[in-house]
Symmetry: C2
Subunit: 344 residues, 2 copies
């Protein structure tokens, strides 16, 4: 056993995050929980969408009822980009990678002419998107490796604390959907364990998901690059390598869920074709009550409107599957009273 | 949402397990928890080893004290083979693989002459061990693949329900260490989240760890083979492929811990060189109270005595490191009042 003050690394980083207006968002999060004692979902308009959620939760929590699910089996999985926070005009993590790439040009001068990096440096999002999964993986691996996990955590936290989205002129962590924060809190209040299952980087999300969503690091599943364990000057470190380890998207989502959780969820929440297999794995071929939900972005005024043709967060096959499988489809414009905590 | 009776798959499998004397072990587990209100570790003899555990837990749970750790940071990781249950004369999972290999000979007649399978079929454990990690991986991949995850869960459960260890003539799930069951329960009673971090197969452990150790599937980390998501007749399945995905041993343990938990544990428990890096990652280069413990097998009468020369569970470098790093070393013969629940 070693001595000294308690180990507060992640905490210290989060303190630096709270120096931005996040604190206000945090308070609103708490007040959402408080409100849950009345209407648990105050930012949701009344209607079939909201009713389907309340009905499902009532069924699985009614002891002695035909759909009762014991508490340890109440697993709910949430996609992140486009489901819990904004993913337009590009994934937040891609904005991070772009800034990282620009900062790294001095040590990678070849990137100026080499794709997909040249497109990144030109800010040509269409070309970046067109480089496909392969291109995105290459960009992520190159810009997210070469440091320890502790160093990367600090880089992410510092970037989130100092960078603002152009359209809303707010830190990204304020661009989370208030109705979904209420839903997360409502499920947890009903004994659910809430997980994030995202195509985004697991280590990119973990520094802030506990504070923003109430989801601890051990309940975050995402894509990852390989790491290497090394003892350096008697200190153990995990060094991040520029090789993909796992892509937690599409058919990767049920694989990631099985690897991390080892049980099938009973509820899943997504917004794009990348979530199709997670929704299938959660709701199909299983007995008992199951719930699938897709957030459909229909509000270009308060947020964005996109689906079948979108570069990021394309919703096409999964939208058709929703109708067949009776998954709930959220019409953001119609179903959400407000989208962000800062909406009036 | 679908209708029908609650989804009870894992439960049904566990019912089949309880048809064996396991129920008795389960009751003893409960009684261990009850006893925890008096002496939380009744199967541990008084002495420096037991005192080091009690002292650590008192420190990290004393609110306002210099070593207090908030509840969500109280993560404890346990190796399985040789730390929580018997690993001699071979890993239980290897006994399972041997039985699987024998059953699979009709469809793999070449195994009779092909290594390491020929050694497996001859029951030549020395040769199997000599085939090293590469050989073990080959055996595991070949005998653990070719079915869905649900089918594999049933195969494992059925095997554990019907197979007995030769020396003790008991089901393997009774060959768990009573003092360690008490320790798991004691830590949980003090707000710890207890994880298993084993070189063994994650899917081999999950069907029974919740019932035997009180560790739910989402807190089990282990080695894995690749899986493939497929829709079959409108049913989603994960099919097990004969390719290794991850080896959760040695330097793989901190990598697996980081991937699954995303926080460093504050206590780790192992018994072999395979646990060295997990103990380093947990206890070194961190501020605050940390605890490392190694179970040293010193009791050939009640269990086994082995360390530096053992084929399985070799304890050599980690034993030297324990002295340098002041990890607690359990002398099973001296420190444990009884080893198994069935010991008088």
């Amino acid at each position: 056993m070693n001595s000294g003050p308690p180990h507060m690394h992640r905490r210290a980083l989060l303190s630096s995050l709270t120096m931005i207006p996040l604190l206000a968002a945090s308070l609103r999060f708490t007040s959402a929980v408080a409100q849950a004692q009345g209407d648990p979902l105050p930012s949701w308009n009344e209607g079939a969408t909201k009713a389907s959620i309340l009905d499902f939760v009532a069924r699985v929590t009614t002891q002695g009822g035909p759909f009762f699910v014991p508490i340890h089996q109440r697993i709910a999985t949430f996609d992140n980009d486009g489901t819990l926070w904004v993913e337009q005009p590009m994934y937040v993590q891609l904005a991070f990678a772009l800034d990282r790439a620009k900062a790294m040009v001095p040590i990678h001068p070849d990137w100026k002419t080499k794709q997909p990096f040249a497109a990144v440096l030109d800010g040509d999002l269409k070309a970046v998107a067109a480089s496909g999964e392969k291109g995105l993986v290459e960009i992520i691996a190159a810009t997210h490796a070469g440091m320890t996990t502790a160093e990367f955590e600090k880089i992410v936290s510092d970037w989130l604390a100092t960078t603002r989205d152009h359209r809303f002129n707010r830190p990204y962590i304020e661009l989370v959907y208030q109705p979904m924060l209420e839903l997360l809190a409502y499920l947890r209040a009903n004994g659910f364990k809430t997980y994030i299952v995202s195509g985004g980087g697991i280590e990119f999300m973990r520094p802030w998901t506990e504070q923003i969503y109430g989801v601890p690091p051990e309940q975050v599943i995402g894509s990852s690059i390989k790491t290497k364990f090394e003892m350096k000057d008697d200190e153990p470190t995990l060094f991040r390598l520029p090789d993909m380890n796992f892509i937690d998207d599409k058919a990767g989502k049920p694989i990631g869920i099985n690897e991390h959780i080892g049980r099938r969820p009973i509820a899943a929440f997504g917004n794009s074709d990348g979530d199709l297999e997670m929704l299938q794995w959660t709701t199909l071929g299983a007995t008992g009550a199951r719930f699938g939900l897709i957030v459909h972005h229909t509000d270009s005024e308060r947020e964005y409107a996109y689906d079948r043709q979108s570069h990021f967060g394309k919703l096409d096959i999964a939208l058709d599957a929703a109708a067949v499988n009776r998954w709930t489809v959220v019409d953001m414009k119609k179903d959400w009273k407000r989208i962000f905590a800062f909406d009036r």
